[in-house]
């Protein structure tokens, strides 16, 4: 190994061996799913996660979400398990314990890779002390993505693993028509002013809520109505009990006033 790494050293599985599966694994797993039906025993293998995944698995098995109503039960030993649930980006220290847990579970077994780190290594994917995901050391059947996956996603992933549900795949592609044009938003408001308004809204309430509030303000500004802008803002439905949103709208009005004063001088 060289201290000046070559591309080889960055290869995710350089130096470690990945466990392979027997050729007839597909038929064996089919038989397993038929046998266990809806009573699946799950063993969790933490390969260096941050606890976020583990805590959401906890949420999934406790009363509100209650995965046990689907027969999914977390067990104490890999020797009792039908399904192994791997979380974490597979740290160096956890590689051998994880491999031992995998080998301890009876064949055939279903492996679920849980969370962004388990699926791909996540934010840690290329770091020196991780191997970058479950599938670098053991073969994976189902991936449950998310950082962390919500309990609902967890239960859905289990259902996929058990063959109760199929993986949902959906894609939409928009093809632009011959004379299709994107309309300019708020054509009545000068572009530079719109930028100023949106920036101020972001500083006041962030991209998400600021975007909504800027949109509301620009709509009020760009459409005619009775009364002054302030009056129209105050009359807008739902704002009478929301002093903060009104405060932000007033700030945006201040931006417009300042810009107009600047343009006049």
């Amino acid at each position: 190994m060289s201290r000046t790494p070559t591309t080889d050293a960055f290869r995710p599985t350089s130096g470690i061996t990945r466990i392979d599966t027997p050729a007839d694994i597909a038929s064996m797993k089919g038989a397993l799913l038929k046998d266990i039906q809806r009573s699946a025993y799950v063993y969790r293998v933490d390969c260096g996660g941050c606890n976020g995944c583990e805590i959401e698995i906890f949420a999934a098995i406790t009363p509100i979400f209650d995965a046990e109503r689907f027969g999914i039960k977390v067990v104490a030993s890999p020797r009792h398990a039908d399904i192994l649930l791997f979380t974490g980006a597979v740290t160096r220290a956890m590689r051998m314990p994880a491999v031992r847990a995998y080998e301890a579970a009876p064949d055939p077994k279903i492996v679920v890779s849980y969370g962004a780190c388990g699926c791909s290594g996540g934010i840690f994917h290329d770091l020196y002390c991780v191997w970058g995901g479950t599938d670098k050391i053991v073969p994976v059947d189902v991936y449950i993505p998310g950082c962390p996956p919500t309990p609902a996603a967890t239960i859905y992933g289990f259902a996929v693993a058990l063959g109760l549900l199929g993986q949902k795949l959906k894609a939409e592609t928009h093809v632009e028509g011959a004379d299709e044009r994107v309309a300019i938003a708020h054509p009545n408001v000068p572009y530079n002013l719109r930028v100023l308004i949106e920036r101020e809204a972001r500083r006041m309430a962030g991209y998400r809520q600021g975007g909504d509030i800027a949109e509301l303000f620009l709509t009020l500004l760009g459409t005619a109505g009775t009364g002054t802008l302030s009056e129209r803002m105050a009359r807008h439905a739902g704002l009478e009990n929301d002093p903060r949103t009104l405060e932000i709208l007033e700030r945006l009005k201040g931006v417009v006033t300042a810009a107009m004063a600047g343009a006049a001088s």
Partner: protein, 571 residues
């Protein structure tokens, strides 16, 4: 916008240190009004740290190593002390280790709290602490090559993955008992919950004589990635992923450290929102621990009830941030989401429901007949041991020490709210549990106060520029205690160094003393009572020191024994 007033908190500590150790102090500089870094001669480092620690009511927060060879030809060592006596603030003792002679006198013989920090500096920088009795690795895995120190700037690319030197775990465990014992591997996987950890109990019959453990199975290399692959704002999201339970506390600590280093004044409203979210995180975390405490005393109904109610705090987090976990809400200079009228109303409603429901559950828990018997007098943390090792959070407060970063060193919006420190005098599991219960209700009150008096104005400032090689501390009180971060800016829009210390890091070293003298059946309960983001062991190997026999007990069996206390697995 860099603001620095003329307040100089820590001047009395500096004067006292100069009087006690003439000629030791080489330099001094304030990073903020309350953060003082004192440079001392390397050979007087142990005396300087020990003096501030024991004579000036300092508590060790973190030991930071830094490769500054490109800047000044030496490695930097920073011993961060939280001063909690008359004059409250942070004093950092800095010493330079020259390149070529890469060793330093260990502080651990004088201040035991430094033991993990110095072991980590040896792992990550290859600096040798002379006189440190513990020669084992701390952070790096057993299959890591010797003499490759990841945080040295010239050691390696952050992506380098050296081939494992072997497939065997080679860590040795320490047993201070006088009798003959055997060493056997155990753990690190376990069923009950989260992080992998590896424990050993050395017992005589049912009594624990000594214990040792190994952590850092989840060392991923975050500090390296922060200084190589990420910009300043990206690290706030990385810090969210330090811990899945109290990640937001880390994110705030990190942003505070950079904001302190650059003197950025964060808008008041952003500070209040940070406070609300920090307390929201505490709500779910304390409910988690109370649930687990029920589980470990065999009260599983309580466990399920606490988890049912805990979902309300998760709903609250999701409504305020968009995520149940990993809030991803911080930026350097502010936050990314506001709390508008609708969210404010819903928050107050959820807070009200939580207060009623948790109140009922706590009453149920404390009036359950056998709970008291299981938790009272168990897992005693002696206040003097606590003083020596600087643990944090409900653990140290349960032993009568008034340590709470929110009150001692107000950060974020805690200056705006009314808050006291909850302490317990029992030093046992019960005392720590009661501290958590009291803090839960305090958190509800803090959220209400912050919503009542939320300042107006923006939630983000962009009115600053990054300057190279500025450093400072950032700190928060996470549910498990003080999280502290030390950041130094670099010259390429990246951090030069980011040191992140989680609260449990400060709490592990005392666990050994808490286990001694208790029975085997209480061990999982004691471990859970430090709320170690919570680790225990898959299997606990029990070594009977008198009979010189050994037996491996599956973790689930240990847990069952902890709950039922019949049919000892040792017989």
């Amino acid at each position: 916008m860099n603001v620095m007033s003329k307040i100089r908190v820590g001047a009395t500590h500096l004067a006292a240190l100069k009087a006690a150790l003439p000629h030791a102090v080489l330099d001094e500089a304030w990073q903020t009004d309350t953060q003082l870094t004192i440079t001392v001669k390397l050979n007087q480092l142990p005396e300087a740290v020990a003096y501030l620690y024991y004579q000036r009511e300092g508590w060790l927060s973190v030991v930071v190593g830094n490769d500054e060879r490109k800047l000044n030809g030496s490695f930097g060592l920073y011993y961060v002390l939280s001063m909690e006596g008359e004059e409250k603030g942070y004093v950092v003792v800095h010493a330079a280790v020259p390149e070529g002679k890469e060793e330093f006198p260990s502080v651990t013989p004088k201040v035991p709290a430094c033991v993990w920090g110095e072991r980590e500096v040896r792992d990550m920088f290859g600096l040798k602490p002379i006189g440190l009795p513990d020669e084992r690795r701390l952070v790096l895995p057993d299959d890591w090559p010797a003499d490759l120190h990841p945080l040295r700037k010239d050691a390696m690319d952050y992506r380098l993955r050296p081939d494992p030197v072997g497939d065997d775990e080679t860590y040795t465990f320490v047993n201070d008992s006088k009798q003959e014992t055997t060493v056997i591997p155990l753990g690190p996987l376990h069923i009950t919950s989260d992080e992998p950890g590896h424990f050993r109990l050395f017992v005589d019959g049912e009594d624990i004589i000594d214990a040792d453990y190994r952590m850092f199975y989840v060392h991923r290399g975050m500090e390296k990635i922060a200084e190589t692959r990420m910009g300043y704002d990206e690290v706030t999201f990385l810090a969210d992923r330090v811990c899945g339970i109290c990640g937001y506390a880390h994110s705030v600590a990190y942003t505070n450290s950079v904001e302190n280093a650059l003197g950025i004044v964060v808008p008041q409203r952003a500070q209040a929102i940070r406070t609300i979210l920090l307390e929201t995180e505490r709500l779910h975390s304390h409910l988690l621990n109370l649930g687990l405490a029920c589980h470990f005393v065999g009260f599983d109904t309580g466990f399920m009830q606490f988890f049912r109610v805990r979902e309300k705090s998760m709903t609250l987090a999701e409504m305020l941030t968009g995520s149940r976990k990993t809030y991803a809400i911080n930026l350097i200079g502010g936050v990314r989401r506001d709390i508008l009228g609708e969210q404010r109303t819903r928050t107050l409603q959820l807070i009200g429901e939580l207060r009623v429901e948790v109140g009922r559950l706590v009453e149920m828990l404390l009036s359950t007949a056998n709970v008291d018997g299981r938790v009272k007098g168990v897992g005693i943390l002696d206040p003097q041991i606590a003083r020596d090792y600087s643990p944090v959070g409900p653990l140290v407060r349960g032993s009568g020490h008034k340590r709470d970063t929110r009150v001692l060193h107000p950060f974020a919006g805690y200056g705006l709210v009314d808050l006291g420190i909850n302490v317990g005098e029992g030093c046992d599991v019960l005392s720590r549990t009661l501290v958590r219960v009291a803090e839960f209700f305090d958190s509800l009150s803090i959220i209400e106060q912050a919503l009542e008096n939320t300042p107006a104005g923006p939630i983000l400032t962009e009115d600053f520029t990054y300057q190279p090689y500025k450093f400072a501390l950032g700190f928060t009180e996470a549910p498990r205690g003080e999280d502290i971060h030390w950041s130094m800016t670099g010259d390429n829009q990246k951090l030069w160094r980011w040191r992140c210390r989680a609260s449990t890091y400060a709490n592990w070293p005392v666990l050994r003393y808490m286990l001694r003298g208790n029975t085997v059946s209480d061990a999982p309960l004691i471990v859970a009572s430090i709320d170690p983001c919570y680790s225990c062991t898959d299997r606990v190997t029990v070594v009977d020191v008198k009979k010189a026999t050994q037996k491996t007990v599956p973790y689930k069996e240990m847990e069952r024994y902890c709950r039922d206390r019949t049919d000892s697995p040792l017989k």
